[in-house]
Amino acid sequence: VLTRNSAAAAPDLGGRLSILTGAVGRALVALRVDSSPVASNSGYRIFTAGATLDPLSKQYGGGQSPVSLPSEMAYLPYQELSVELARMVDTELARAGLTGAPDRLRQAPFYLLRRADMPAVCLTLGYGSNDRDRSRMNDAAFVESAARAVAQALLDLDRRLQETAGGTNR
């Protein structure tokens, strides 16, 4: 499910969250492009919601009790799976020959990642401020290989979910 297929038709975050909530998907991969004042910064990076960055997370059991969680803490039960998905995406992107940033697996308190009722990552494919990244992202072959890598990671996660007894298989 695509939350949008053009910049002009971009729904707001609430709209995107509604699409996620109503979707039959099992995982979220948010695609972004990064930018930096330092032109040499390049490479893809994968973000997951950071339970450890949330000062309230400990009070709510660190994700062990989804029933008692307030809605804004819904990401916690999926924290481990999100990190696993991030690693799978990273593995597949590296296998496809894409270059990652040195610290490419990061945590960040991003809204959709925290609220998606499923494993969720945000993938920045490169830096628009870097000439090499920008030309790559305009290359259809690059986009194709990145898309295939992400799709393979999603299939790996799906297999993992199906193998896990009592997992969050919806």
């Binding site: 972004r32 990064d34 930018s35 450890t52 997370s57 804004e72 809204y111 925290r114 920045t124 830096y127």
Partner: protein, 233 residues
């Protein structure tokens, strides 16, 4: 002359015996002193090593330049990054007359500058001073501000264990991408939360209002704990 004392019951002490010089201390006493001193030195050394290895190393303060005791910036290494970040972690405060303010050397990490306070300040004044220094930007060196230009500080105060920072609407200007957005958010949060003892997190307001999301990305529905993993080692 041996160090042995003569038996007390020796009959009839002579005058010579009365003026006999006091017995020398036994060698055993000297050894005990040496052993004791060595133990104290070892314990002190171990404590020092443990503090160096595991304790919080306060960053060296930048020295004020002549005529300006506040903005004399010398970039210093960031604080030791803890293994990951834990909710509720509270870093020890810097020296009482200093604050550390976080800028970025490379658009990926944060680095602290230690700034001397111009005068003694209360906790609230200290928070406000640190935030104003953050918004003013780094002085010298290769550091850059992670916060967009033109952002004004509307208010800064502490409620319970949370620093509340109210920024002007200029802070909502697009930064171009998730990494820049995370850096900006944590430049504010780390600066607000890592300078004050007892403060565990920071809440960002925009124009006096609680906003759910900043840059359509960063979740501001609650306070954010500082992210030490972003700080350059």
């Amino acid at each position: 002359v041996t160090s042995d004392s003569r038996p007390d019951d020796e009959a009839g002490e002579t005058e010579e015996a009365l003026y006999r010089p006091p017995p020398r201390r036994r060698r055993g006493g000297c050894v005990r002193w040496l052993v004791g001193f060595a133990l104290v030195a070892c314990v002190g050394g171990l404590c020092g090593a443990a503090y160096y290895l595991f304790g919080y190393r306060t960053m060296p303060a930048r020295r004020p330049q002549a005529g300006n005791g506040v903005r004399a910036a010398v970039p210093v290494a960031g604080q030791d990054s803890q293994a990951g970040t834990e909710g509720g972690y509270t870093a020890p405060p810097v020296e009482e007359n200093q604050v550390r303010v976080f800028f970025t050397p490379d658009g990926v990490k944060l680095q602290a500058q230690v700034i001397d306070l111009p005068q003694a300040m209360s906790t609230h004044e200290r928070l406000r001073f640190a935030m104003e220094e953050l918004l003013r930007g780094p002085t010298g060196g290769k550091l850059k501000s992670a916060v967009p230009e033109g952002v004004q500080l509307r208010a800064a105060f502490i409620r319970d264990d949370t620093a509340v920072v109210d920024l002007s609407a200029a802070a909502t200007r697009s930064l171009g991408g998730p990494m820049a957005e995370a850096l900006c958010a944590y430049a504010v949060v780390n600066t607000a939360a890592l300078n004050l003892a007892g403060v565990k997190a920071a809440r960002i307001l925009i124009d006096g209002q609680a906003v759910a999301v900043l840059w359509e990305q960063v979740d501001l529905t609650g306070p954010l704990a500082p992210d030490l993993s972003l700080i350059q080692r």
